[in-house]
Structures are given as C-alpha cells and as structure tokens.
C-alpha cells in the first residue's frame, strides 16, 4: 500500500486544499478510492493526488529559524498610515490627489 495526500478544489477561484490522505496500492485505485472517500457528496470538482513519497518535506529544524523575525511581519498598518498622511497633505496644499 502507498499513502496518498488528497487535494480538492471547487470550480472557480478557490485554491486546491488539502483534504486528507488515503491508502491505495497504486495510482488507479487511489483515484477510484478517493472518489468514494472524499468526493461522494460532490465536495469538489477537481482532484489532485500526491504519492507521499513524492513530497519534498522540509524538516522542523530547517523551517523553525524564521519564526523569530517579527520585522518580516507586515500587517500593512504603517503603509496605510503613510498613505493617509500623504493624502491629507495633498488635500491641504490643493494638489490633485488622484
């Protein structure tokens, strides 16, 4: 048996989302079994299956160091503030803000 990761997508602009995993002996049966395990209530219109062996996995030691860099978190607040100030300054000087 192989383990497959299941990704589903509704038609439209939503992205593929991980829905779970399943065990199957080969790609063909993975497709067949995914249809009944994950799509029997018309949950999606598109299906990706990925053999877990084919995933490139970053281990936690490799991933973790970037967790302590708050300066890389930009919530847009400062930019919004600067733009607001600029707009008001333009209004004050009578310049066209567009």
């Amino acid at each position: 048996m192989k383990r497959y990761e299941v990704f589903l997508k509704k038609d439209g602009r939503d992205e593929y989302r991980h829905a779970g995993s399943l065990d199957a002996p080969n790609d063909e049966l993975a497709l067949v079994l995914a249809r009944e395990s994950y799509l029997r209530r018309a949950e999606a219109d598109r299906l990706w299956l990925v053999d877990r062996e084919h995933l490139v996995v970053g281990n936690t030691d490799f991933v973790a160091p970037n967790a302590d860099k708050p300066h890389r978190h930009n919530d847009g607040e400062r930019i919004a503030e600067r733009r607001k100030r600029l707009r008001e300054a333009q209004k004050y000087t009578g310049e066209d803000a567009s």
Partner: protein, 262 residues
C-alpha cells in the same frame, strides 16, 4: 403514456429490480468490515448506487409503468415491493441471494454481476418504456465507475500469490450461480415483443462469457456457458436457501414494529 405496461412487463422489470436490490444489499453489508477503510467506503457506496437503481425500477413497477404518476410514488409502495415477506413474489437470481463473508467471493461477484449488468442496461437503453430507458442512462453514469473499481482491484490482486488463488477459487464457486443471471425471466418474451427490451438477456451471454475469460484468463470449459445447453431455466420462480436469512436481515428493523410509519 410512458410506454407499454401489463402483467408480463411488470414481471420483467421486477426481476431486474430484485437483482439490483439484493446485490446492493449484499455490497452494503460490507460497511465496517471490508479489508481497509477506503474500500469499506467505496464498496458500500457502490452498493448504495445499486439500491438507487432498484428504487428507480421498483418505482416503475409501483407506478405501473409511470413512476411520476399522481405526483410520484409513495415510499411505502416501494417498501411493500422491496421488503415483501412472501418469497414467492421474488424474482431474484441465486447469485445475488448467496451470502458470503469472504472478500474474494464478494469481489468476484461484484465483477461478474456488474459486467452482466452493463449488458442488461444496454438492452433497455432504447426501451419503449420511457422510464426504463431513463433508468438505463442514469445507471450507466454510475456503472462505469463500478467496473473501474472492480477491475482496478482485480488488476492488482489476480497476479498476487495467494490472493489470485483465492479469487480463482471464488470464480469456480460463483460461475454456476452467475450463469443463472441470464435465465429468461417471466415476461421477457412479451418485453421483447413490445420493444421494452431489444433482445433476450441470454443473447448477450456469449459476450459476457468472453469478458469473463479475458478477465480471469482461465479455462472455463468445465462451466456450461452456452445458453442452449444449460439446464432448463426456472424463470426465477425458485428461491435459494440463502434467500430466507437475507430477507430476515433486510426486514430486521421493519419487523420490530410492523405498524410504524418510516
């Protein structure tokens, strides 16, 4: 008018409905006990599809050819057919009555039955009984998947040591019963004459036998697959020993309170 209807055509449609119903029932009994979780879901879903086909066919019978008459058929009229306690009412093939707790038998029967079922729906795809032609179109939208499921499993398991032997042993057990699927049912002659079906079901048996040979790559010479040489068919009027216990299982909840309205 939705097409021809009389007592003979009723018998013809009822036999198909009974087969679909009992096959669906047998498949769904694997829920929770199939070899692995994914298969558990797949096999019982396939059984559920067959139950849907049965419900469609019983509705044609209950509506005397028109399942939409009087604004639809009351579920209780379908239940009266589907859970009829009188064994002499039933027209099921012995293949679908047989009960097994062996997965190899369940899988081989799934393949044998669905391969025959495809040919059976094809015969009524252009039926003069319009609701039956509609049911055939609907069924084929599901049946291709059933066949792909059965073939997918057999592709993997037949070449495997151990599993292949179990499947071939199951085939030997089940073929004599499967051949009975093609026994002419009461009313078939009239169904052909009125265009409800284009030909007797057993006219498609050689094609089915070819597919069985190709699938299992086996010597089937010990099994009598030629319609003309077979023992006289019973017209589906006799029930096998497995039928009684199966009907009891199906009626288990219903019998708790016969007066209840579901």
């Amino acid at each position: 008018m939705t097409g021809p209807w009389n007592a003979d055509i009723r018998e013809f449609v009822l036999a198909f409905a009974d087969d679909e119903h009992l096959m669906g029932q047998q498949h769904t009994e694997w829920i929770g006990v199939a070899p692995f979780l994914e298969e558990d879901l797949a096999f019982s879903s396939i059984g559920q599809d067959e139950l849907g086909h049965a419900a469609t066919l019983y509705a044609i019978v209950a509506g005397e050819g028109d399942p939409n008459r009087e604004g639809g058929i009351d579920d209780r009229r379908l239940d009266a057919l589907a859970f009829d306690p009188d064994p002499s009412r039933w027209r099921s093939a012995h293949l679908v009555e047989a009960t097994t707790d062996d997965w190899a038998h369940a899988l081989v029967r799934h393949w044998l039955y669905d391969t025959a079922e495809q040919l059976r729906w094809e015969l009524v795809a252009e039926s003069t009984l319009e609701p039956l032609a509609g049911a055939a179109a609907r069924a084929e939208r599901e049946e291709w998947f059933h066949r792909r499921h059965a073939d997918g499993l057999l592709d993997v398991l037949l070449p495997a040591p151990g599993a292949g032997d179990r499947l071939r042993a199951a085939l030997t057990d089940l073929l004599p019963l499967a051949v009975g699927l093609f026994d002419p049912v009461a009313g078939e002659v009239q169904a052909v004459a009125s265009g409800v079906t284009i030909a007797p079901f057993d006219s498609r048996m050689p094609e089915w036998a070819d597919r069985v040979r190709a699938r299992f790559d086996g010597d089937l010479s010990s099994i009598d697959l030629s319609p003309s040489d077979r023992a006289a068919p019973t017209g589906r009027t006799t029930r096998s020993n497995a039928f009684g216990p199966l009907l009891s299982r199906m009626r288990e909840v219903l019998d708790l309170d016969p007066a209840a309205i579901w």
